[in-house]
Amino acid sequence: MNPNFNLWVIPVLALTGAAINGLFGRRFPKQVVAAVGLLFTGAAFLWAARVALAVFSGSVLLPHTELLASWIRSGSFHADFAFYLDQLSMVMLLVVTGVGFLIHVYSVGYMWEEGGFYRYFSYLNLFMFFMLTLVLANNYLLMFIGWEGVGLASYLLIGFFFLRDSAAAAGKKAFITNRIGDFGFLIALFLLIQKFGSLDFTTVAEGVGKLPTEAGFGLLTAVGIFLMVGACGKSAQIPLYVWLPDAMEGPTPVSALIHAATMVTAGVYMVARSHVIFDKAPLALAVVAIIGTLTAFFAATIGITQTDIKRVLAYSTVSQLGYMFMACGAAAYAAGVFHLMTHAFFKGLLFLGSGSVIHALSGEQDMRNMGGLRKKIPWTFAVMTAGTVAIAGIPPFAGFWSKDEILWQVYSHGPKILWALGLLTAFITSFYMFRLWFMTFFGEYRGKLESGDHGHGDAHGHGHGHGGIHESPMIMIVPLVILALLSIGGGFIKAPEFLAPVFATGSVHVEAGHGEGAAKVEGAVTEAPESKSTEYWLMGFSVGAGGLGLLLAYLLYHRRPELPGRIADGISGLYRTVASKYYVDEIYNWMLIAPLIDVSRRWLWRGVDQGGIDTVVNDGAIGAREVGEIARHMQSGNLRSYAGWLAAGAAVVVAYMVWLGVR
């Protein structure tokens, strides 16, 4: 019998913080707002850590379920406020609360000068609440609440600077794009209810376990694909990735927390959580793998051409998320979650670091106006270096371990073409990250700001624009350093082994073919058919890809900074296509949005609404008016007349009732 951890306390702590700041924060001084925000997230982290210690000490039998309260009971269907703790949610819990807390700390420094300080912390805590609900839920419905809630918090935070049109538009874009994904998710839930009559993870898993592996397109495949649609929306995969780069309109810590470390990985978490379904639906798994790989590759290529520091990181995030889906698609969920974790560390770090850079330059985001910042902001430079190295896959930093794990799993379980694309992506990743690194920190400073001598702790909001380049205050540096340490050492965490029991129920070997999924169930992931030497070869390849990227970036952006321009001119057609993000936004606009608006305007608005609904409503109103014209004579204003009508009516009703009784 497991002890009762009161898991519900963890999300509720965050909610309490959100409520206090949201309801009363307006009147609080900033110090109190910050204290409340940090206190409750910190407490949530400590609570999670307590649970984690109990788990690691082995005194807890996983999975562990806690029922808080009954929620919906309707016939045989029921969904409860219940929390589910296993290795997977444990990892997510620690990542969300830990990284979340660090980013909260960072935000205190970063957002100090901004308006709506209390609003920001309230939203941020609200996000934590929903994310924790999502992670800890024991059924799909509660998970869906968290899922929608993080979408809401994301919307609120992207549009945090709502006075800027672009920010408001980006928020709406994110929300609407997410809705498309949520639609898929909901349909998957409906299918699950229809098939299994329950949304409990355990019940569904049991139900799925009794079904055979589907050879072609069956119910489970449909569920899987719809789940993947949901994941595509939340985790910014092709074709729904378009919102994430725009989401960079939000404050940078938000980009770090929501659009890099936690929320966007919810899709990966959800796929991993539903692995039993995907295990039985190889076709769906293939879809996941293909989408993941394509996303990883295309987003990486776009990343090369971007000049906005945050956009580069955004496309990098999309690309890395693609990696995670690639891993899931190869049924290597543990590897995917492992990458999720390391990615949370280094991408959170990179975003926060970029925030620090932006902060230092008082709001400048264009890398073309940077350069040579190495000396001026040494701390930021150091931690950015750690992050860049980690993401580029240079051993022994965190990104290397997880990425190598993924590539190896894909090589051994999936078609080689996926592996090749993954390797190519690793190379591109390394290239654009070092491109960012060189452009930002090396060479000559190309901006306009004077180099200032302001001390630490003298924080300026960007946009205030006074003073020169300055290092960020300690409150921002400390979280950066902690994340840097995690990025460096995070790869040594034995996450895949820790996670293995969750996914040990059987895995799928996608043999060949993207379409027809002939698959067979094998024992466990770890028993790979390849030999050790193959593994080392592969490791060599990925290290080589990383190194090559570094080398190329060094050549192009440090030694010969004039070369990139010339190359771009040489292949200007291709370059423009990539720089314009393959015109995806334009294509969507032309293919979907414009026809939708057109149809809405011509047919729904003029035809259905004006022609149909309005006519009915208007005619109804006219009819009512005409009837009223006659009936209004009943309303004589005389009290006794009303009483007379009433008495007569009562007589009729009673007479009818008596007649019914007699009959």
Partner: protein
């Protein structure tokens, strides 16, 4: 037999009072008839074993509500009713309606006149029918606690409403 006689006497007083209420033209006469009806009804309640209800009927209805009516009649110095024909509907529809209603209900009661007969002695002996103050109080504060509390809120609101409504309009304040 004595009880039946009592019932008939009280009933006759009730009906007479009610009819008198209709016949009299001065509101204070009607009010006094109504007080008589209420007092006689208290007697009926006593015959039905509803001791506490009877007491409260006298205290609240006759002693408070009707005093309020008499007070208002005196305050407004209401004169005898004038005969106006403001509503044909009340006469054409209403009065026949009431007649039909009364006849129907009477017919239904007669149809189902197999209801039991009760004797006050038996009613008082049986704790499930004897409305002693303690029994009623226990019911009010256990089973009907929520309605009880809600009615107290209702009364509070009614008091405030009455004060606001009956207040003399303060023109000076409104202009501010």
């Amino acid at each position: 037999m004595l009880h039946l006689l009592l019932f008939l006497i009280f009933g006759a007083i009730c009906v007479a009072g009610a009819v008198n209420l209709l016949v009299q033209r001065h509101p204070i006469q009607s009010a006094l008839s109504l007080i008589v009806v209420m007092a006689a009804l208290a007697g009926e309640y006593l015959l039905l074993g509803a001791e506490f209800v009877a007491a409260v009927q006298v205290i609240v209805y006759a002693g408070a509500i009707m005093v309020l009516f008499v007070f208002v009649i005196m305050l407004l110095n209401a004169a005898e009713e004038e005969h106006t024909a403001g509503s044909r509907v009340a006469m054409i529809l209403g009065v026949p309606g009431v007649t039909v209603l009364g006849l129907l209900v009477a017919w239904m009661v007669v149809q189902h006149s197999n209801s039991p007969s009760v004797s006050p002695a038996a009613l008082y002996a049986d704790p499930t029918t004897h409305g002693a103050p303690a029994t009623i109080g226990t019911l009010l504060f256990s089973e009907f606690l929520l309605p009880f509390e809600i009615t107290s809120v209702l009364i509070l609101i009614a008091i405030m409403g009455a004060v606001v409504l009956a207040q003399k309009p303060q023109h000076g304040k409104e202009e501010k």
